[in-house]
Amino acid sequence: MRTGAGLRQEAETLAGPLPPLLAAAEHLAASVLTGEHGRRRTGQGDQFWQYRPSHAGDEARMIDWRRSARADDALFVREKEWQAAQSVALWLDAGQSMEFSSAKDIATKADTARRLALALSVLLVRGGERVGLTNAGLPPRTGQVQLLRLTDALASPAEADEYEAPELRGIPARSRAVFFSDFMGDLAPVERALTRAADRGISGALCQVLDPQEEAFPFDGRTIFQSIGGTMVHETLKAGDLRGRYLERLAARKDALSRLARNTGWQYLCYHTDRPASGALLWLYGALERVH
């Protein structure tokens, strides 16, 4: 039989990483939008949206008699705001290359992505949407409990390769998805995943998280570059000479991602870990709100 103290200890160990991450995400979310919100469209819901003059085809029970009685001759229909929930699936690259930060005061790419993802989840859950996490196989659900589950899943790292490919498992058709990654690995799996997603009517956003050092390549001299996992090594005698070609390749990769996103109806954002997160969050939220 488990003792009360042991249970408590386990619970606290489990809960330990939750509050800071969730709190940071809540804080970030609060900077973008506060309070309940609708879809700003006519549809099914509880909230009043607008009166509109009735036209042919409206059922008699749809007439709002109180409003119509005040008018001289027209009849008005009361419309509700559309509050239908949507499913959003998040995928975070768990590859080792994400565990990189070039300076002490800059968060790692993985941390940044986690924070962004959770903040986005908070916003979406508040908006009444369903949010899921494909890494952990969490199907999209709504509510505070789902937020805690997401937090838990994000906070517990898993074994991973150097670079990971997007996971489409568990994403419902015609829903939304957001992929967080540095997209430094092979692009072919990404392309495959996006094509399949487009086939299934899934649209969404690609968020490429990059460290400022990856963008600047401020190296010089004789250098041996190692990947984070240590599986790839490249030695150069004059790192400074590589800068131009490295940047060209990086630009080409961004361009490829952007083109890929455009072709499949996705949206693409390149985000640097030293920038304020609220801007990226606002963009992501806007990207998901856009009507297709």
Binding site: M184, G185, F219, G221, R222, F225, H234, E235, A239, L242
Partner: protein
């Protein structure tokens, strides 16, 4: 020691290490710089990229060269390089070092001591016995004081030159006492003086003489002369070369009592001349303050000439009774006095009050009996502070009651009624002659001419003190001149008139001499032995050999005869001597001093004073090695990409910190100078144009609003009125000069620091001298004036130490309401009627038919309110208001009134109560529509 040219090496065999350098070259060349390992996720993008050029994996040649240099410098450094290595001279037998030790030695005394020190070091190395003799301070027992050289080294700092020349008799006696064979080093002062040649010959007999002599000519300053109303200065030099001119400064105390240069003159030596002359014309006030002349930049007693009474022109005030009759000039009571005094003194006249203020040396009252009002006290005070009051009798004094009943302060003796006449047509007896002066008299030693007679005089009342106060008598013993000491000063009464009416004394030369003895006048010539016979003098201020003037301390008195003889020596040090009534300067150089150069026989070795010293180079070379190594470290870092990589910022910060640490003091100094410059510039700008200013609160936001507000007000003033202010400025109460600002805006914040006491003193001075402070608590929207808002409490705290008069709310007829615009409200961003100014006087009344009271006459020093005026005035750079005021058009109207209040306020500061002048009343009434 192994030498190459001027270089020597202490450990030459270490230089063999240089042979190993080529081997090092080969080794270093083979080792390329180590690579850096970096973790980098983007490596996937790098795969397959080849290096463009085949980068050398060997060390570049210039880095190798740098390392070679570093190692080479280290090897050379440890080999102990020395520049100009000294090889010691050798000699045998005892060594005599002769130093003249005169004032001419003083300018380069330290070099002489250094030269002696070097000679002692050599003597110590060779173990020679040494004697050092200073000719102005000969060894008392005669002979040579031979000791080990290191014993002398300890005594060396104690050797000092004397401000006189060696005594020839003593020199001869000492020279006679020498009998040993001895080699002589003679450090000559370059002058020729009595006894030098005899000594030189004697020493040449005893052994070889080497002379060390400075290449500079010796210079001296003769005492200043008085000639044709100008001070004449003469400098002499020993040789007709050297500098073309010298600058002579006249030192003295300025009126504040601070020693300073009162005048300077440049004396130019003509080529091949040894005497230079210049003259200075000075006002008597300045001239009398001169204490000494000196050749600037020359530390020697010969370059200093003390000024004594001979140079001073005494200031004498002569008071005579108002002449009621058109008298003949020769009958004037003061004619003879003036004739006697004018050549040597400056005579001033005026009212007694002015004269006492001018503090003359002597006041002469010829036949003045009574002084009126406070004049007796004024003169008595002046006498007690060291003045000499010289009175002459006359018909008025004889007829008056002065000094009849009691001892008057300004009368040396009591007088009997009437006086007496002797030898006249209506009296018995002959005119009386003078008796020879007694030894106690200041006139002792003056010869009495037979033809001086006295026919009338005032008589002293017999008195116990009469005998001691009498300093001259007639042949029958009646007092002719009496004197009374009064603290530091004295009162002297001649019992006869100052003109020839009562006696022939004023016609005689004796009269002038008597005046001179009384220090009424002084003669600008040197006193003769006869003049000084029987007198005793004490040294007051002494001149050191280095030309400094010092208090002499307690010294035995010097008889006047010795002083007159001149020629300073051990028993008569040069300086300023004080006698009974006067001071005499005894200078090193006299009016006829000519200094001539020392002559040495052919074949004498003459060397300069320069000492050669070896310079060890080890430190410099090793530092260079270290510098090379540092440069190598930097270059290696740069080559391997560690200087320009991701950590470059940190590396640069460390480097910058190092460089800053090295240059810190200079930079800080420059900064502080720059600060004062900019402050001065600001103050100048503020003083040359009207500048509105605000008090810095430390709250950035409030300060910005203040500046923007005053900018807006300045622009409005510029546009609408003849006040054209420049951009407003911030004022820090602690440092800034307030007097250049007519007006201070002081927003009150709860957290601003309290000014220091000094700042409050400045503020109070500012308020008292017409400045105005506008206090703004900026909280009229939420608090009533005098309420306990945080700003209100802070205002009370801030204003407590200020010198603020009683206040009242602005009355409706206050001048602020009409200095430019006619106003009744003073809104800012808030509308509160609580604006307080200095209270009008309680007795201010409204005259009949006048709309305004006749109010106080000055500018209110403070205006206190809380309407947040700066926010209402505030505009940005393009002149657009920054803060909304009120709502809509009414708000804009409120802003306009706020501007009008600002205009009125600044007008009030700048024009004072001008608009409260009743002259303006009709026009104002007209405008008010009454």
């Amino acid at each position: 020691m192994w030498t190459i040219g001027p270089l020597g090496f202490a450990v030459p065999w270490l230089l063999l290490g240089l042979l190993a350098l080529p081997i090092l070259w080969l080794i270093l060349r083979a080792v390329p710089p180590a690579p850096i390992r970096r973790r980098f996720p983007g490596v996937a993008l790098l795969l397959g990229l080849k290096d463009d050029e085949q980068q050398t994996d060997k060390t570049p040649w210039w880095l190798l060269l740098l390392r070679m240099l570093a190692v080479g410098a280290a090897i050379i450094g440890f080999a102990g390089p020395v520049l100009n290595p000294v090889t010691s001279e050798d000699g045998t037998g005892p060594l005599l070092i002769v130093m003249d030790g005169t004032w001419a030695d003083a300018p380069d005394w330290s070099r002489r001591i250094a030269r002696v020190d070097e000679a002692l070091t050599d003597a110590q190395a060779t173990g020679r016995e040494t004697a050092i003799v200073v000719l102005t301070d000969l060894p008392a027992e005669g002979g040579l004081p031979l000791r080990a050289a290191d014993a002398w080294s300890a005594a060396l700092p104690g050797l000092q030159p004397a401000p006189w020349l060696p005594d020839s008799d003593a020199l001869a006696a000492w020279a006679a006492s020498l009998d040993e064979e001895v080699e002589t080093f003679w450090l000559s002062d370059g002058l020729s003086w009595d006894g030098r040649e005899a000594l030189r010959d004697r020493l040449a007999d005893l052994g070889e003489i080497t002379v060390f002599q400075s290449a500079r000519p010796v210079m001296a300053l003769r005492p200043a002369r008085w000639e044709d109303g100008q001070i004449v200065l003469e400098a002499v030099r020993s040789r007709a070369d050297g500098p073309d001119s010298v600058t002579v400064a006249a030192h003295g105390l300025d009126p504040a009592g601070t020693p300073r240069d009162l005048a300077t003159a440049t004396l130019g030596f003509a080529p091949s001349e040894t005497v230079a002359t210049a003259s200075i014309a000075l006002q008597p006030e300045l001239r009398n303050r001169i204490t000494r002349f000196e050749i600037q930049g020359l530390r020697s007693a010969g370059a200093v000439s003390l000024a004594d009474d001979g140079l001073r022109r005494r200031e004498i005030a002569i008071l005579s009774p108002r002449d009621e009759r058109e008298g003949l000039q020769l009958l004037s009571p003061t004619h003879y006095l003036e004739q006697a005094l004018i050549p040597n003194t400056d005579i001033i006249d005026g009212s007694i009050d002015d004269i006492v203020l001018a503090n003359p040396d002597v006041i002469i009252m010829a036949d003045i009996a009574q002084l009126g009002g406070t004049e007796p006290e004024a003169i008595e005070g002046w006498v007690r502070n060291g003045g000499l009051l010289l009175r002459f009798a006359g018909p008025r004094l004889a007829a008056s009651d002065v000094g009849r009943s009691g001892d008057e302060p300004l009368m040396p003796v009591r007088l009997r009624i009437g006086g007496r006449n002797v030898g006249g047509a209506m009296s018995w007896g002959e005119p009386k002659t003078l008796r020879a002066f007694g030894p106690d008299s200041p006139f002792f030693g003056l010869t009495v001419p037979e033809d001086v007679t006295v026919s009338a005089q005032v008589m002293a009342e017999p008195d116990p003190t009469l005998a001691e106060r009498t300093i001259a008598t007639l042949a029958d013993g009646t007092p002719l001149v009496t004197r009374k000491r009064l603290d530091e000063g004295q009162v002297v009464l001649f019992h006869v008139t100052a003109n020839a009416e009562w006696s022939s004394l004023p016609l005689s030369g004796l009269f002038v001499s008597m005046l001179e003895r009384l220090a009424v006048s002084s003669r600008p010539s040197d006193p003769s032995a006869a003049d000084l016979a029987g007198t005793s003098w004490t040294l007051d201020q002494a001149i050191t050999a280095f030309g400094r003037v010092e208090e002499a301390g307690t010294m035995p008195g010097v008889p006047g005869e010795r002083l007159a003889e001149g020629g300073p020596g051990r028993d008569l040090p040069p300086g300023l001597y004080a006698g009974e009534d006067r001071r005499l300067a005894l200078n090193v150089a006299t009016a006829d001093t000519a200094i001539s150069e020392a002559v040495w026989p052919d074949g004498t070795r003459i060397e300069g004073l320069a000492t050669v010293s070896e310079t060890p180079l080890k430190g410099i070379v090793l530092s260079a090695a270290l510098a090379f190594l540092l440069a190598d470290v930097l270059a290696a870092l740069w080559l391997s990409g560690r200087l320009s990589g991701p950590r470059a910022g940190q590396a640069a910060a460390v480097l910058l910190a190092l460089v800053l640490a090295a240059t810190q003091p200079g930079a800080a100094l420059a900064q502080s100078e720059e600060m004062t410059d900019t402050e001065l510039e600001r103050a100048l700008r503020a003083a040359s144009e009207v500048t509105l200013a605000y008090v810095v609160t430390g709250n950035d936001r409030v300060d910005q609003v203040s500046e923007a507000g005053l900018r807006g007000l300045s622009r409005v003033l510029f546009r609408r009125t003849s006040i054209e202010p420049i951009e407003p400025t911030a004022v820090n109460l602690e440092f800034d000069e307030l007097s250049v600002f007519p007006f201070l805006y002081w927003p009150v914040t709860p957290d601003q620091p309290r000014p220091s006491l000094d700042a409050y003193a400045n503020l109070n001075r500012y308020l008292r001298t017409g400045g105005m402070i506008l206090f703004d608590t900026r909280d009229a929207d939420t608090a009533r004036f005098g309420g306990t808002s945080p700003n209100g409490r802070k205002l009370q705290e801030l204003a407590l130490p200020l010198d603020i008069p009683p206040l009242e709310p602005v009355p409706s007829d206050h001048v602020l309401t009409r200095t430019f615009y006619l106003l009744q409200d003073f809104p800012g961003r808030h509308i509160s009627r609580d604006v307080w100014v200095e209270a009008s006087p309680a007795d201010a009344e409204r005259a009949e038919g006048m709309p305004f009271r006749n109010l106080n006459d000055n500018v209110t020093p403070v205006v206190i309110g809380g309407n947040d005026w700066a926010s209402a005035w505030a505009v940005d750079d393009s002149g657009v208001p920054i803060f909304p005021v009120g709502r809509g058009f009414a708000g804009e109207r409120q802003r306009e009134i706020a501007y009008r209040f600002g205009v009125n306020l600044v007008m009030h500061v700048l024009t004072g109560n001008y608009k409260s002048d009743q002259v303006h009343v009709p026009a104002l009434l007209d405008r008010l529509g009454q």
